[in-house]
Symmetry: C2
Subunit: 572 residues, 2 copies
């Protein structure tokens, strides 16, 4: 059986009329769904009191194939075969499958038919409960009243659909339900998953229309009729709840259920896996350096201080010193994936106070470009791996947050800082003239655009930054004392990795530290560690959330952090 | 050319005379080495002043194939083929190889011959510099004076040895040096690598002998002659510097160079790799939960507090709540590898204030044993992987810290808490009668012994701990309200993992929290998250350092932590 009115896919590139029509339909569906959810929730709340009566009623009706299961306390081991929603396709047709999933939406059609959408992670499938055979009318009504987001066990026969079900990921099959049990019942949701899942272009369009109408309304020459018409249009324009990023984060456990968000964190997991796979293949080993440290590692200004028994301590701003300690200790190639803490009061789209650092450090034989090549190979391997192994997840993100596919080549275009500055200077715009030998954020973004236009790629490397803008432990260029053997990696014009050859000579390190005004006693141990023989080495640190945000073009790093931390957010 | 006096391997199972003889020889070697190191270091220190004069001298002698290289600033890219020490074996014979390694030891034999041991990580090889051909007498003398632990580039011909070189890991080959350059020169070491590498049984034997002599000296009936003899024996007995664990940690970068320690951290990296490999194969995804949190997650007593902008925050004592949040958010199987912070003032062999948690949480269909089975499969896969993939590292650890190979079966023996308590009760010893329904440390150790004797394994599981000793969020057993669906995993009689089925029902969770005297408002958000439908789930947390310590029988968790943190240690 196939549903007669499939919900069209939301998409960014539709004509205005199609979009309007779609909005209208979605709005209607939303109202119906909301009313039903409210009703179901009311029932669910009041249900506690007369559960027993109801249960009695159910038994009379014969509920051997439907109902609510008691809370699972692991009473028995049952040998049953389960099927994942993601596994359902043409090859499942004709089989009876047992599925555990969330009831995403349900729609009663009359007394004897109910359409249900089941969701598991980023996969959805349509199920139909119809009166007939062992299925009673009460069963159909019961299913229609199960609160959305409840977890259910469904036994069903898989049938092929005549028309693809566009509202589900599993479009070619449908489930004919033969038994339906609630495993864990939801109550009234503070936010609707549909609202959290709505495609960004649709919301942006609404926002834009609203702005335009408000601008028209500000026109003082309007007569009363015109005003009334515009006001009406304005009220009609607000069709969808546009849940703010903050409200989403306040309800993170719900917000994460959205298929696109499920996919973002599956991709995040993938970045870590690919990072490690590649480095382990190249002979790296993984280390775990301490996060509680006795002195500020990078800069005293942006460090979190904590009480440590009878003294105090700090949270590591990077594993820099420890990675280098590993190098001094003959672990020639090391990486670490771990939290990095920055007490910077930066409230931007790309700063977090706690993020995941993908760090590496390695010795090289002759030239730090051996390390830069490793970083290039590493990042492009990650990009390639995401593309090839996570196509479903990318599609799912794309549905809610359409983005340009990430372009890269290997080897990636590489420029010196001066070359990159010259490309910006060619614009003949004073805003893009680099000052103080460093890019600002706007200049970086613009550089990304220029390189995308010229070279067709979203990933590039800038080498030979000037010594003055890098830390004291950065190795100066041997040919030009103004340059450093230091580099940044960029994705879509935003920095995702900063790295350099480090000074491995105690004498030079002390000299440079002094020149930077650093109190030598504070870092004596660090300096001393290079006195007992140390290979030349270089490394870098990649911000995991930035990589995910920029690869997917998400626009806000909070979308790429499981539970983001910023100066104003400590929960959940 | 083969060295005539190879240093014998230190081993724990030698006869007393052999051990004595060995000790004597090692002692002699130590004295020679120390004198030489001192001399070399003096030269190295004073060398700065007359470097130019010396360089001049060297040029006159023709040093095209030896000398000190300038600090590497990545001046040029040189295309050269490098060989790792680990790659050297019979198949290398007849080749000329280029190697970068540490000069581990060197021994001049007369004016024209110098034996050198080169070390890279856990691998060592013998090299010989002999006058003849392009090699001058000055070159031989230069090599003999290079400070130990300097990093050197050596070009050499590989030859087969007639007698295995027992003092090196690469026993069947030797290098005939044709060029020798110092890449990074070491200064006088605060601790000798030989002392840090000495086999533990040898040190223990010395300790024991010393104790015995001191006991004899305490005998008041001794005459003067006897006293003098014993004092002499005592002074002779102290042959080896026994570097304390604390002193080792104070000089961690040197201590980690020791082959056994190199191996420990390669194994630690291996545990993480195997953990992830197995879980990714089983469909888990990796998450990264915040470490800075707004409220103490487990217990207020043992939490670190920090300043967070204008408020304060805490360091996560476990990712428990976040793993469960991931479950509520439909990530059905999640794991995390990350730091865990405990402000407990425990100064024991197995407690750290910061350690690496290997955490997992997963939904199950019918019974939490699905999760316990996963944990069993996971741990035994890790043990198996260490055994098969890291034999060289295990051998290297075993050389310094001999240990009984870790025994396990799959599935592992599994007991209920009551069964395990009964096994202890059978001993008829009041010390082993379990009180307050929980084991103490001694009882756990003894339990490990009993199970090793009865079942021949070092890994086992205890299930069904009593509810009263587990956190409020633990699911009670459905058949016996005194029991919980809670388990611990043990290695060699020490707990390495604690886990349970969690309460996924908001109502029961609130009830249990109240019964535990918890203020509901403090955890309202946590309780609420289970109101919107949540699958039954269970999980556990494994301590990485404990797994490594116990697998290798190291006896102190600090040996398995890169830079351990305890109540009295915050550095390095």
């Amino acid at each position: 059986m196939s549903e007669t009115t499939p919900v069209p896919v939301e998409s960014g590139d539709k004509s205005a009329t199609a979009l309007k029509k779609e909005q209208k339909k979605l709005e209607k569906e939303r109202k119906i769904a909301e009313a039903k959810a409210k009703k179901a929730a009311e029932k669910s709340v009041s249900g506690e009191q007369n559960k027993n009566e109801k249960k009695q009623e159910q038994v009379e009706e014969n509920n051997s194939n439907w109902g609510e299961l008691p809370m699972n306390q692991s009473k028995e081991k049952i040998k049953r075969e389960w099927t994942d929603v993601s596994q359902l396709n043409e090859s499942s047709v004709g089989k009876s499958v047992l599925i555990r999933a969330r009831l995403s939406t349900s729609r009663l059609q009359g007394a004897n038919l109910c359409f249900v959408q089941l969701r598991d992670g980023l996969y959805t499938v349509q199920a139909v409960v119809a009166k007939g055979g062992a299925n009673s009318k009460s069963m159909v009504q019961f299913v229609g009243q199960v609160p959305k987001e409840s977890i259910v066990d469904v036994q069903a026969n898989v049938v092929a659909t005549s028309v693809p079900i566009e509202s589900c990921t599993q479009k070619t099959v449908e489930l004919q339900v033969t038994s339906f049990f609630v495993v864990s019942k939801s109550t009234l949701l503070p936010l609707q998953i549909e609202d959290l899942s709505r495609s960004q272009p649709l919301l942006d369009k609404q926002e834009e229309d609203l702005k335009q109408l408000e601008q028209l309304l500000r026109n003082t020459n309007l007569n009363e009729q015109e005003k009334t018409d515009l006001e009406k249009k304005k009220s009609e324009c607000i069709k969808f709840v546009n849940v703010s990023q903050e409200k989403r984060l306040d309800n993170r456990a719900l917000d994460l259920r959205v298929p696109a968000h499920q996919s973002i964190f599956r991709l995040q997991s993938g970045v870590c896996t690919l990072f490690r796979e590649q480095l382990l293949t190249e002979g790296f080993i993984e280390i775990h350096s301490p996060k509680i440290i006795s002195a500020a590692s990078e800069s005293g200004a942006s460090v979190f201080k904590l009480n440590y028994f009878n003294t105090h301590a700090y949270l590591a701003q990077s594993p820099q010193l420890y990675k280098q300690m590993a190098i001094c200790a003959d672990f020639n190639k090391v990486f670490e994936i771990g939290p990095v803490f920055r007490a910077e009061n930066s409230n931007t789209h790309r700063h977090l106070t706690e993020f995941v650092g993908l760090d590496l450090e390695m010795t090289f034989k002759d030239h730090y470009h051996e390390v830069l090549d490793t970083l290039d190979r590493l990042m492009t391997t990650i990009f390639h791996g995401l593309e090839t192994r996570f196509s479903k997840e990318l599609e799912s993100v794309n549905n809610q947050y359409p983005f340009e596919p990430f372009k890269f080549t290997y080897p990636s275009p590489r420029f010196t800082f001066d070359e990159a500055a010259a490309m910006l200077a060619e614009l003949n715009d004073p805003d893009y003239i680099v000052k103080d030998n460093d890019f600002n954020t706007r200049q970086e973004k613009r550089l990304g655009k220029i390189i995308k236009e010229k070279f067709g790629v979203d990933f590039f490397i800038v080498d030979k930054f000037h010594v003055e803008v890098r830390p004291f432990y950065t190795m100066p260029d041997p040919n030009n004392p103004q340059w450093a053997n230091a580099y940044d990696l960029f994705m879509r014009g935003e920095e995702i990795c900063s790295g350099a050859q480090r000074v491995h000579d105690a004498e030079l390190l002390e000299k440079n530290a002094k020149a930077h005004g650093i109190v030598i006693e504070d870092i004596q141990g660090y300096i001393d560690s290079f006195k007992y023989g140390c290979s030349q080495h270089a490394g870098g640190g990649v911000g995991l959330e930035r990589v995910v945000m920029l690869y997917l073009g998400l626009g806000n790093i909070r979308k790429a952090s499981f539970c983001p931390r910023d100066p104003t957010r400590l929960t959940p």
